[in-house]
């Protein structure tokens, strides 16, 4: 059976990605186009006849004229001009049936390309609910393009589209009836084929009336953010305890059954002690992403950008920076990639530079470990978790520092011309379970891949470095003190002594340069090896709380607000800005801030609390 290659194109917010998810399910591959920072999403499905259909999800754009990278990629792929990409057999142009005035203009532009195409009229259910009547036969006649109705968020909502693709209809190139006036043509077609009872949906009006209310809008946003961070701490607890318990059980089994020696030490210390310390945070990361995905899917995120635009522009940013910065709370890498939606290059560079200051989920293991070990688990006002409040404060500190840095950047900028906002606020939508599940699955996989890839490798190296060359004759200290890692830790300890880091932390910081959460697994390994042979450091928290001072713990937390300990972030900055200088400047200023902040925190805490 032959393979059919189709490309999905459309305006932002037309439901293209939902359609893509519905068609291809989990069979997708996300990557970048070679040499540019435009995301390439590809998937496939097998139609009922056995025909294989390759689906390419092109970036959402408003126009093919503009010169942005997204527009150029979309146009070049449709025309088969991009090297290394096969020309699609059929372009499926996706339009939101409730927003045809805007989307039809783009359809007309795609038509001008002169390639075989069909129109997927998406969100037909929402259109019907709003009383919008679309005469598809007339629309087809006026456009000269085959029109197929879809409801991308329903399981059988793409049946007609699949049947059409399966039926092997000879691809049809529409005739171009040029008049030169796209808007005029759109208006004529709408008048002929569409009856609109009302300008907008009542639900959108009502919700925007409340959520964008000048007085209520920002308080509501604050409450939403606050609930998210409380939930990360409280909802995840049962799952985390279960993971901890099973790690402890596993550790027990290993220490009792395996004979003493290197193998036992490797499995107990590097695998269970190290990786176990990080895997515990999977539930929190999933909960955080769950909320971010819901906010994204529901259409609330651009509203938040609307509310904050004025404040953020005073800090030298734009409301558009909000979405990348919020994503950076999950991980700076997708956050920095999301800055592609910021069209102004100055705003984009500033957003990239401060994205690493947002508290990413890799810091969560570090904060959670330290907060859990050193701060009391009491309730404030009887219902708020004190530890949750401190975590919230850590997030606020990150955001506040980001705004300050952005102000400083704005002061030094030479080009002070106008920065545009112009942002579409899409209709509100109920988040769809399938899209949520695919998004969460992706995130969980990335986390697990990091654990089994980077973290496993680095941790194994660390175990080797902390185990060898081994204790000399007559040595009295634990093994690790005589190891390579121990030596290096002791060498660099003087640099970090003013900020209160002991040599174990120094050892953990070195592999922690690769990725932040590695520091936790590294600490797990370091303390497991230093400890007696029969215990596995599954209870790293209680161990450090008995060995570190409060000042050291707080100083380490302050360090982690700033320190750019993530090679992947630096690599993605290099890719997105195409400049090593940007990488150097960003890493340099972050390390400097980290040292200063940790120094101040340590000295002040030490002065007031002693130890």
């Amino acid at each position: 059976m032959d393979t059919l290659t189709i490309a999905l194109v459309g305006n932002p917010n037309c439901g293209k990605t939902a359609l893509f998810n519905q068609l291809t399910g989990a069979r997708q591959k996300v990557a970048n186009y070679a040499g540019v920072t435009v995301e390439r999403k590809q998937g496939h499905f097998i139609a009922p006849s056995g025909r294989k259909v390759q689906v390419l999800d092109l970036p959402g754009t408003y126009s093919l004229d503009a010169m942005g990278p997204d527009e150029i990629i979309t146009r070049d792929i449709c025309l088969g001009r991009r090297e290394g990409e096969t020309m699609p057999d059929l372009i499926v142009c996706v339009a939101d049936a409730t927003n045809l005035r805007l989307h039809l203009r783009f359809v007309m532009e795609v038509k001008r390309l002169g390639r075989p195409m069909i129109l997927a009229l998406n969100m037909m259910d929402a259109a019907r609910k709003r009383g919008i009547t679309i005469d598809t036969a007339k629309l087809e006649a006026e456009l000269g393009v085959r029109v197929i109705e879809t409801v991308a968020v329903k399981a059988n909502g793409t049946a007609d589209l699949v049947a059409h693709l399966d039926a092997n209809v000879a691809p049809h190139v529409p005739d171009i009836r040029e008049t030169g006036d796209l808007h005029g043509d759109v208006r004529r077609i709408l008048n002929a084929a569409v009856v609109m009872p009302q300008r907008t949906s009542l639900i959108d009006d009502r919700l925007d009336g409340i959520l964008l209310n000048p007085f209520l809008g920002i308080p509501i946003l604050m409450v939403i953010m606050f609930v998210v961070f409380q939930a990360v701490f409280t909802w995840a607890t049962p799952a985390m305890e279960a993971i901890e318990a099973s790690m402890a059980w596993l550790g027990g089994v290993v220490t009792q059954t395996l004979p003493d020696g290197l193998l036992k030490s490797f499995i107990a210390d590097a695998l269970i002690g190290g990786l176990g310390a990080v895997i515990v945070f999977l539930p929190q990361i999933i909960i955080l992403f769950f909320f971010i995905l819901i906010l994204e899917e529901s259409g609330y995120l651009p509203r938040a950008a609307f509310l904050l635009d004025n404040l953020m522009s005073k800090a030298g940013l734009t409301g558009r920076s909000f979405i990348p910065l919020l994503s950076s709370h999950a991980c700076a890498i997708p956050g920095i990639m999301a800055t592609r939606s910021i069209h102004d290059i100055r705003d984009r560079i500033t957003t990239i530079m401060i994205a690493p200051l947002m508290t990413c989920s890799a810091r969560l293991p570090v904060y959670a470990l330290l907060i859990g070990a050193f701060l009391p688990n009491t309730k404030v006002f009887g219902f708020l978790s004190f530890q949750g409040l401190v975590l919230f404060a850590m997030y606020i500190t990150g955001i506040f520092s980001g705004l300050m840095v952005s102000l400083v950047i704005a002061l030094f900028r030479k080009d002070k011309s106008e920065h545009p906002l112009i942002m579409e606020l899409p209709s509100y939508r109920l988040p769809h379970v399938k899209n949520l599940a695919i998004g969460l699955g992706e995130r969980a996989m990335i986390f697990m891949r990091r654990i089994t890839g980077i973290i496993f490798t680095v941790n194994t190296l660390l175990w080797v470095a902390s185990t060898f060359p081994g204790k000399p004759e007559g040595g009295t200290l634990p093994n690790i003190d005589y190891s390579f890692a121990g030596m290096v830790g002791h060498w660099i300890e003087p640099i970090f002594a003013p900020i209160g880091f002991n040599w174990q932390i120094c050892v953990a910081l070195i592999p922690g340069l690769a990725a932040r959460e590695v520091a936790v697994s590294a600490l797990g390994t370091v303390y497991a090896i230093s400890g007696s042979d029969d215990t596995v450091a599954t209870q790293l928290g209680s161990l450090i709380s008995s060995q570190w001072t409060l000042a050291t713990a707080l100083s380490l937390m302050a360090w982690y607000v700033f320190a750019p300990q993530c090679l992947s972030t630096l690599a993605v900055i290099r890719r997105e800005t195409n400049s090593w200088k940007m990488v150097g400047v960003t890493a340099g200023y972050l390390f400097a801030l980290a040292y200063v902040a940790a120094f101040i925190t340590y000295q002040i805490t030490h002065f007031f609390v002693g130890h």
Binding site: R199, T200, D208, F306, N310, I422
Partner: protein, 79 residues
């Protein structure tokens, strides 16, 4: 009048978008997004600080426009 001067929720009609300088990219983008002669337009919300940005309803679409952007759009109040 300018779109920034249109009273909240009052129905208006776009008469055009002016360029503040040669090759004004912001004005171009506005025209691409449908701010063209004869389109019905309304101001349906304002940002919480300095009444900026404005929430603009044009046709069936909502846009957030900063005041400086909205000031490029010329409108007349519809009857």
């Amino acid at each position: 009048m300018k779109l920034t001067e249109l009273p909240a929720f009052a129905p208006g009609l776009v008469t055009g978008v002016i360029d503040t300088h040669d090759g004004d990219l912001i004005s171009n983008r506005l025209r691409e997004l449908g701010f063209v002669d004869g389109e019905p337009v309304r101001v349906v919300g304002r940002g919480p600080i300095g009444a900026d940005p404005l929430l603009i309803q044009i046709g069936f679409t909502r846009f957030a426009l900063r005041r400086s952007e909205a000031a490029r759009v010329m409108v007349e109040q519809a009857a």
